[in-house]
Symmetry: D2
Subunit: 89 residues, 4 copies
């Protein structure tokens, strides 16, 4: 499996979300719940960055060095779209 | 339990994260994985907004109408901090 | 004028944007340009937070203590919407 | 000049920031001011995406096809860092 580290961090984030559900069950303070959700989001951001980095260091390089302009354009476009979604305020 | 709807949506997001782990186990395409992570983040954003809304309609109103200026300032400050974390580019 | 500090910081951000245009005119390196744009966005985030803080410490308090439930709901809803726009991934 | 379109949009954003300063001078409603700031940020996001796209379609391709591994790594790393800054919640 590629992305082993990302896999492990996703498992951690999943456990974190389960903990937040328990907080709601125990009527925790709203702001503490929101802060925990924001912490999960920060973790997910790091995981996305890591996967994108691995993608650029493998698939992207292969596509750019390859002989198929359409494939290259597709791979570049996908990365731009991911960036676009990430920046949308 | 308050926030029942948020609780249910957190459970869904947790299942979504489990699905993303399976994608990694099956060596799914990186960009598809990142898109799924971004979808979970969009869901978490909506949950945060919902909890904040409920918080402002209850605790915040109580604090502002209450007799304790320190309590009021604390509650306002917490909301600003949550907003600050959310906007940090 | 309220928000004098915010006004001054907006003026600075405006000058910063003018500097970025000059960078483009002088064919600066793309990544340096993007970094400067991200710096302006970080500055704008801080200005938004500051204005929101002042708004919550004045208009919001007035609305919540006031006698008009509709006005109160409107003011709360606006803040939620601003938060929603800020978090949209 | 490369990035002519981006240059024009930055000029527009600069004018927009000037308009927001006038709003503050005329004591406009805080929430309206924040909404305008968020509109400028959305515009800046689009400009960043556009410049990044042009960068990936030129410099990045050159670096990846080039003979210098260090140069290639540098260019990839820069893009990741820009993405990282953009996603930081």
């Amino acid at each position: 499996m590629k992305h082993e580290n990302a896999h492990r961090r996703l498992k951690t984030a999943e456990g974190h979300l389960r903990g937040i559900q328990r907080m709601l069950e125990e009527d925790a303070y709203c702001i503490d719940v929101i802060r925990q959700i924001q912490a999960v989001q920060a973790a997910l951001n790091k995981i996305s960055v890591q996967i994108l980095e691995e993608h650029m260091n493998s698939c992207l390089i292969t596509a750019i060095r390859g002989e198929e302009p359409e494939e290259r354009e597709r791979v570049l476009k996908e990365i731009i779209e991911v960036f676009e979604t990430a920046t949308r305020t």
